[in-house]
C-alpha cells in the first residue's frame, strides 16, 4: 500500500476537509485557559519536588477509592492515578452532587477541585473562522458565561502566581502570607485546591512538617480519591 498522506491531500471532499479544519481549530474555553495559567504557576515547584523522588502510584490502593478509581489507577503506572481521579470526578459531576467539604482545614476547600462550576450544557466547540487563539479566548469570555466569573478566576490565578513566585524565591513565609490573603479574598475560590497544594509546599519549605501533614490529611479526608489528595501525600512523603 502506498505511503500514508494526509487526508486533505489524499482525496478528501470539501466537506471532509472542512471537518478536519474545524476539529483542528477546537480550543478550550477561557476558564480552561485560566486553569492552564494556574498550572504554570503551581506545578513548576511541584515538578521539582516530585522529581526529587516521590512514589507516584503508592496511594493507588487506598481503600477510599471508588471501584472506578481503583480500576483506572491499578491498570496504569503514573498516569493511572490521574485518570482514575479524573474519571471519578467526572462521574460525580455527571451523576451526583459532590460531597460537602467538611474538613478541619483552615478555610473552605472546593469539593470539586479543578472544576467547581457545574458542567456546561453547551461545550465550547470553537469556530473555524476563529483559529486557535487562547489569547483572544482569554480576553473575550463567551457571552453565555458571566464576565465576573472569568474576572474572579483571573484574580485568583494572579494571587496564586504571587504565592508561587514567593515560594520559588525561597520565601515560604511570604508565600504563606499570600495564601492567607488568597483565602481571605476567595473563601470558596475556584482554585482552592491548588492553594492547598501551594500551602503544603510552603509549610514544608518553612520546616513546618506537622502543619503540612495536617493540611494534607484534612484535604485527603474530604477528597480521598482525587489527584490532588494523592499529590499532597506524595509531597509530604517526598520531603
Amino acid at each position: 500500500m502506498s505511503e500514508l498522506r494526509r487526508w486533505s491531500a489524499d482525496g478528501a471532499t470539501d466537506a471532509e476537509i472542512a471537518l478536519l479544519e474545524a476539529a483542528r481549530g477546537v480550543q478550550p474555553s477561557a476558564e480552561t485557559l485560566a486553569r492552564a495559567r494556574a498550572l504554570r504557576a503551581l506545578s513548576v515547584t511541584a515538578a521539582a519536588t516530585t522529581i526529587a523522588g516521590a512514589a507516584p502510584v503508592a496511594a493507588a490502593t487506598k481503600s477510599g477509592l471508588t471501584l472506578v478509581g481503583k480500576i483506572a489507577i491499578l491498570s496504569l503506572v503514573g498516569g493511572g492515578v490521574v485518570a482514575g481521579g479524573v474519571a471519578v470526578r467526572a462521574a460525580r459531576q455527571a451523576s451526583a452532587p459532590p460531597a460537602a467539604a467538611v474538613v478541619p482545614a483552615p478555610r473552605p476547600v472546593s469539593a470539586v477541585p479543578l472544576r467547581p462550576e457545574p458542567p456546561r450544557v453547551n461545550p465550547p466547540p470553537a469556530s473555524v473562522s476563529a483559529p486557535i487563539s487562547p489569547v483572544r479566548a482569554a480576553e473575550s469570555p463567551r457571552p453565555a458565561r458571566p464576565a465576573s466569573s472569568n474576572d474572579q478566576l483571573s484574580r485568583e490565578v494572579k494571587a496564586l502566581e504571587l504565592a508561587h513566585r514567593a515560594l520559588a524565591e525561597h520565601d515560604p513565609q511570604r508565600a504563606l502570607e499570600l495564601l492567607d490573603r488568597y483565602g481571605a479574598h476567595f473563601p470558596a475560590g475556584s482554585l482552592s485546591s491548588e492553594a492547598v497544594v501551594l500551602r503544603v509546599q510552603a509549610l514544608l519549605a518553612n520546616g513546618d512538617r506537622a502543619a503540612a501533614q495536617a493540611q494534607a490529611d484534612a484535604y485527603s479526608a474530604a477528597h480521598p480519591d482525587t489527584p490532588f489528595a494523592i499529590r499532597l501525600k506524595e509531597l509530604v512523603r517526598g520531603q
Binding site: 472542512a18 511541584a46 472544576r115 456546561r120
Partner: protein, 186 residues
C-alpha cells in the same frame, strides 16, 4: 501560546526544569486539551485530564528529549484518555458526552450537500463519528489527521507497525465518509 496572555513570571531563581515545564505548558496545553477531547474525554474531564497529563510529564521531565515534548505529552494523553474512557464505560450512569450525540450526521449533510459545513455542526458530526468508531481507529485518526503527527510517530506512540497505522487511518476515513454520507461529493 498562553505565554502571550500572561505577564512574565519567570524569575531568575527558577531552575532549568521549572522553565522547561512552563514552556511545555505554554506550547502544548491547548494541544493536549484538544487531543483529550477528540480522544473521547468528556468536557467535564478534559481540564483535569490535561492538567494531569502535565503533572505526569513533570515527574518525567528528565526522560523527555528536547524537541520531543509534544509527542511525549500526546503519549501520556493517549493513556489518560484511554483510562478515562474505560472508567466511564464501566460506570454506566455517566453519559460520555451528551451535547454531541446527534443520532447521525447523514441527514443534516444531505440537506446542504455542496455548502461549507457549519462549524459547530461539523464538530458535532465529527464527535459522533469518532464516538462510533473503535478506539484503535480513533486513536490513529486523531493523532495522524488532527494532531498531524507523522505516520512513524503515530506508530511509535501506538506500538504498532506503520502499515497498521496507515490501514487504521484509512478505515477511519472510510467510516467517517460513510457516516457523513458524502461519498463522491467534491
Amino acid at each position: 501560546m498562553i505565554e502571550r496572555a500572561l505577564p512574565p513570571t519567570i524569575t531568575a531563581r527558577e531552575t532549568a526544569p521549572d522553565v522547561r515545564f512552563r514552556s511545555m505548558v505554554d506550547a502544548h496545553f491547548v494541544t493536549v486539551w484538544r487531543a483529550l477531547r477528540h480522544l473521547g474525554v468528556p468536557e467535564v474531564g478534559a481540564d483535569d485530564g490535561a492538567q494531569q497529563v502535565f503533572l505526569v510529564a513533570a515527574r518525567r521531565l528528565d526522560d523527555i528529549r528536547a524537541g520531543g515534548e509534544r509527542q511525549y505529552l500526546l503519549a501520556i494523553a493517549l493513556r489518560v484518555a484511554s483510562e478515562i474512557r474505560r472508567a466511564l464505560r464501566r460506570r454506566r450512569e455517566v453519559p460520555m458526552d451528551t451535547p454531541v450525540s446527534e443520532p447521525l450526521c447523514v441527514a443534516t449533510v444531505d440537506q446542504q450537500p455542496e455548502q461549507a459545513l457549519d462549524n459547530k455542526r461539523a464538530l458535532a458530526m465529527l464527535a459522533t463519528c469518532l464516538e462510533g468508531m473503535s478506539e484503535k481507529l480513533r486513536d490513529a485518526f486523531v493523532l495522524f489527521e488532527l494532531e498531524e503527527l507523522s505516520a512513524p510517530e503515530v506508530a511509535r506512540l501506538l506500538g504498532v507497525p506503520v502499515g497498521t497505522v496507515a490501514s487504521r487511518v484509512r478505515l477511519a476515513r472510510e467510516y467517517i465518509r460513510e457516516s457523513l454520507g458524502s461519498r463522491g461529493r467534491r
